[in-house]
């Protein structure tokens, strides 16, 4: 594999796919769908190939490619992956075919839809592999465009509001982030993440920025905080972190379900990935200064979104809030790791655990949420678009297989041991309790509420009195079963043998934790 520009090829596959699907202009919608799915499976295969050749023992960047681009702007084409990058590539490669399968029933402008999905996938790949801000930001921003149109054209009744809100929120965050990075660039003339991180850890970055912007009457320390705040806002909106989450429920519920899968399964990870790859190494010092408020935000994200989910009737909204809630655990772990910088060897193990947990949770949430929304799409298909919690009832009797499989996905979301959802959360709580006990204790409330609303969904949809309207609902077809089987199998596999992912990310997680320690 040496010398092969694997990552460029990987990013190119969906781009080519998008063009081919769009230009094929096939009258035959089935052909279009299969063609698009083919391309997404091709990129999945490519990702698996990369995984095969990936050296898990090393925490360093692998498969690097580096080319000069715009020297004056410090822009380079520089890509590479470490364990975290690979995990995210894998997740995107898995989520996109799921999203396509869940969009199978879309009949309006099929080539455009699938072409946009592929384009979004390319942006995801690009974001997760770019190591230079200029290059990374291109993909980060371009990803908004397909997502916007997927919501805007194929969404539900309030799609215009949803799409606009999504776009404007994210754009505000992005512009703030861009301004901050331009200030950094002005000071140190580089956009390279690794170089910026090195400078930051050597304590040279912020003094340089302050020196450049000193015409201004801000206290240096405040200036550094503002720059950090700009970047933080960009990521906080994307994840989202409370109180920057208000675009999310409407976007997730109005988007066609296949798109919701992309948004929650893969795009929300862009924010967390950014926090780990950019915020933590470059702004570690600033994060430490405000680590207590950050932890409060994480706790609020977990608990309040859990309670909000409890109050919803629409299933897509329930799981939209549940997504916020699940990503909150990742934030909790990351911020707890940031808070303690001492050299206590005992705590170090806990930090490794929390960081590993956060990464696993990113993957698991993506997988589980994708599966749950897929089932919601299947229910919509059978009920003509209904997605309310109370629209069904007693389905267990008519669609036993679907009830069983969806139950597995829901229990995974709830964090049942043996399924994938459990391992990440377990590691996070194991690590966070010794680091920030109060935050972990409060967050447990979120776990409880999650159990309540998920059991509530299972109860109202699958058990109880059979709603006579659905007496003739068809169970999963053979094709659907075959498509679902690998996903369910993967849930069990990760749940029972998390080592296969832990091995991939462990050295990266340890490295990130050590970087934080170095910062002070």
């Amino acid at each position: 594999m040496n010398g092969c520009p694997c990552i460029s090829v990987l990013t190119a596959i969906p781009v080519i796919g998008a063009v081919v699907v769009l230009l094929a202009r096939n009258r035959n919608r089935r052909m279009t769908r299969w063609l698009a799915l083919g391309f997404s499976l091709l990129s999945l295969a490519m990702t698996l190939l990369i995984w095969h050749y990936f050296n898990s023992a090393s925490g360093a960047m692998q498969f690097q490619e580096q080319h000069a681009w715009v020297a004056m702007l410090g822009a380079e084409y520089r890509v590479g992956i470490d364990g975290l990058g690979l995990l995210m590539l894998l997740l995107s490669a898995i989520v996109v075919p799921i999203a396509m399968a869940a969009s199978w029933q879309i009949e309006d402008r099929v080539p455009l839809y699938f072409s946009l999905v592929l384009l979004l996938q390319a942006c995801l790949f690009g974001t997760f592999t770019a190591l230079n801000f200029f290059h990374w930001f291109i993909f980060w921003e371009l990803g908004l465009i397909p997502a916007f149109f997927l919501i805007k054209i194929w969404g539900g009744p309030k799609r215009t509001a949803a799409a606009t809100q999504f776009l404007v929120y994210t754009m505000v965050g992005s512009v703030a982030m861009l301004l901050s990075f331009l200030a950094l660039f002005l000071a140190v003339h580089t956009f390279d993440f690794a170089t910026l991180a090195q400078l930051a850890q050597g304590g040279q970055l912020m003094p340089a920025v302050v020196a450049k912007l000193s015409t201004h009457r801000l206290i240096p320390h405040h200036l550094a905080m503002w720059i950090f705040a700009g970047v933080f806002l960009g990521f906080a909106v994307k994840v989202p972190i409370l109180p920057f989450h208000t675009w999310l429920p409407i976007a997730y519920s109005e988007a066609p379900t296949g798109t919701t899968i992309l948004l929650t399964g893969a795009m929300s990870k862009m924010g967390l990935y950014g926090i780990l790859r950019i915020l933590l190494p470059i702004f570690g010092e600033q994060m430490q200064r405000v680590s207590t408020p950050l932890l409060w935000m994480a706790v609020a994200t977990i608990v309040l979104s859990g309670y909000s989910a409890l109050a919803q009737k629409d299933m897509k909204r329930i799981f939209a809030y549940s997504s916020i809630n699940h990503l909150g655990y990742c934030l909790l772990a990351i911020f707890a790791v940031v808070k303690f910088t001492g050299n206590d060897a005992g705590l170090l193990t806990q930090k490794y655990a929390a960081m590993n947990g956060a990464m696993l949770q990113m993957f698991n949430h993506g997988l589980t949420a994708a599966a749950v929304f897929w089932f919601i799409a299947l229910l919509e298909k059978r009920s003509g678009g209904l997605q309310g919690r109370n629209d069904f009832g007693g389905l267990r009797k008519v669609v036993p297989v679907m009830a069983g499989l969806m139950g597995i996905a829901l229990f995974s979301s709830l964090g049942l041991p043996g399924l994938n959802g459990f391992v990440g959360e377990f590691l996070i709580f194991k690590g966070v309790f010794p680091l920030a006990g109060w935050a972990a204790a409060l967050s447990v409330l979120g776990l409880l509420v999650t159990a309540v609303f998920i059991l509530g969904v299972i109860q109202r949809v699958f058990t109880g009195q059979l709603n006579p309207r659905w007496a003739a609902m068809p169970d999963l077809t053979t094709a659907e079963r075959m498509a679902l089987a690998p996903v369910i199998a993967l849930m069990f596999a990760v749940g029972l043998y998390p080592q296969m992912l832990l091995a991939m990310v462990n050295s990266t997680a340890m490295q990130i934790v050590q970087q934080v320690r170095l910062a002070f």
Partner: protein, 503 residues
């Protein structure tokens, strides 16, 4: 150097069109297109062969020896970049005017005359010559709007002409004063820039000439001709206006005002409202233009006014870039000239040609009834791409240019850089608002009565493709232009600027 022929061939083309037998519109179009293509090819050849970015003389012939005036053309990286832009816009503009039926020959004759004069301005080294070309531009501009325009065309044309004349008068006063003060030996740019004008003279001559050119560049609060002029103009003329004519103003600010009178940018020694120099004043005006233009664009009902005000906003970036007085900001300003030229051209093409000439309305409310993204999906796609570029989405030309300007602004005016951020966000909002209303309205509001719209023709598609390709090329590989822009800024011509205020 062959690049001087860009001017001559455009004038010859105009002449040929006027002399041709009347009534053959198809031939007129072909002649115009071939002329523009030839001009573009010459520009491209000159651009590609120009290596150093330094000022190189193209032609030099004595003209009025008693006054030291020469017919002196020269080109450096900045002029060649803009000449190339003019070539691209000229070709695209003709493609988008393929359907002009009224007095076709004269239309294209004026069009080529305008193009030739624009090439002339960008290539002039002698300031008298520059001024002559600058004045020639006004005439075809007036007629193009007054004869082939739409909404309130006489008003728009007259307003534009008057504003231009006022600006020219201010420039002329400044130039004559400089000529006299320097000893009346030469009008060559290099000679005048090399002359050490007294500081107090520069202190008033600089704002005079800068504002004179700035009027044409849409400098707030002298921008009001721009939206009305753009709206009244026929598509190709709005493309030229926004694409290259406004750049003439910005080019004059940089090339004449700032190189001749660099000390005019120095501090006054006292503060008024926190502003300590003309540089502060113009930077603040530029940022007001950015934010104000964007906010006004946000509330327009007329689709073309949205784009008209967006031009004011984007030209603000150029002026801000000029005022940063650092290499990155200035290069960004030149890049933004190119980027805005391409993107504004594209947007006016969509609004004026693809949409207006099919629906005969520019009212966003009425347009939402046409369900345009189904009726003419190509136009929708093009507008989305142009809009993305205009709002500064990475991958297209607007991003690199605005990014460089903001970096420069961070250095020179940190507080203003933050205000620019606000302008960018509003920019996103008005583009999406216009796009949603015009192309992606909700189906409940769709009128069923109107007739099916004509399909997008091949010249339109070609023109759009050319401009999109140009924008993507600049966005992904700005080095292509920066390689000549940066050395040009480092050349002796800008030495005064570098010595005085360069950061």
């Amino acid at each position: 150097m062959m690049v001087a022929w860009t001017i001559y061939i455009s004038f010859l083309g105009a002449l040929a069109l006027l002399l041709m037998p009347k009534g053959n519109a198809a031939a007129a179009r072909i002649v115009a297109l071939l002329t523009a293509l030839a001009g573009f090819a010459l520009a491209l050849a000159a651009f590609c062969t120009h290596r150093s970015g330094e000022m190189l003389t193209v032609t030099r012939v004595p003209w009025i020896p008693s006054l030291g005036i020469e017919y002196h053309l020269a080109a450096d990286g900045i002029s060649l970049t803009l000449v190339l832009l003019t070539g691209v816009i000229a070709v695209a503009g003709i493609l988008f005017s393929w359907n002009v039926a009224l007095r076709t020959q004269e239309f294209f004759a004026f069009y080529l005359l305008l193009i030739g004069a624009v090439y002339g301005v960008f290539l002039s080294y002698d300031l008298f010559l520059l001024f002559v070309f600058y004045e020639i531009v006004i005439i075809p501009k007036y007629f193009l709007i007054a004869i082939w325009g739409s909404t309130r065309r006489e008003y728009g044309a007259m307003k534009l002409a008057l504003y231009s004349f006022v600006g020219s008068a201010m420039v002329l006063i400044g130039l004559i004063a400089a000529f006299v003060v320097s000893g009346a030996k030469s009008m060559a740019l290099g000679d005048l820039a090399g002359y050490a004008f007294p500081a107090h003279f520069q202190m008033w001559a600089f704002p005079l000439v800068f504002v004179g050119f700035g009027i044409l560049a849409g400098l707030w609060p002298f921008h009001t001709w721009a939206p009305t002029g753009h709206v009244a103009a026929p598509t190709a003329a709005s493309m030229l206006l926004a694409g290259v004519v406004m750049k003439l103003g910005a080019y004059g600010c940089l090339r004449v005002a700032m190189t001749l009178f660099p000390l005019g940018l120095n501090s006054w020694g006292f503060h008024v409202l926190g502003l300590g120099s003309w540089r502060d004043v113009f930077a603040v005006l530029a940022v007001i233009g950015i934010v104000y233009g964007a906010m006004v664009a946000l509330v327009q009902r007329d689709f073309k006014f949205v784009i008209g005000y967006s031009s004011v906003s984007h030209m603000g970036f150029i002026l801000l870039g000029l005022m940063t007085l650092n290499q990155i900001g200035l290069s960004g300003a030149v890049l933004q000239m190119v980027s805005h030229g391409i993107l504004a051209g594209l947007m006016f093409a969509v609004v004026g040609r693809m949409v207006y000439e099919r629906t005969h309305t520019r009212d966003l409310k009425i347009l939402s009834g046409f369900n345009l993204n189904h009726a003419i999906p190509f136009a929708a796609v093009v507008f989305v791409i142009a809009g993305m570029g205009s709002m500064g989405l990475p991958g297209l030309s607007g991003f690199v240019a605005e990014m460089m300007i903001v970096i420069g602004a961070w250095r020179a005016f940190p507080l203003l850089a933050v205000c620019v951020g606000v302008g960018i966000v509003v920019g996103v909002a008005y583009i999406w608002r216009a796009m949603q209303k015009a192309f992606f309205a909700e189906p409940e509001m769709v009128l069923e009565t109107h007739e099916p719209l004509a399909a997008i023709s091949i010249p339109e598609k070609l023109g759009a493709m050319i401009l999109i390709a140009a924008s993507v090329a600049v966005g992904l590989y700005p080095q292509m232009l920066l390689r000549v822009i940066v050395p040009a800024l480092n050349s002796p011509l800008f030495e005064g600027l570098r010595k005085g205020n360069w950061q």
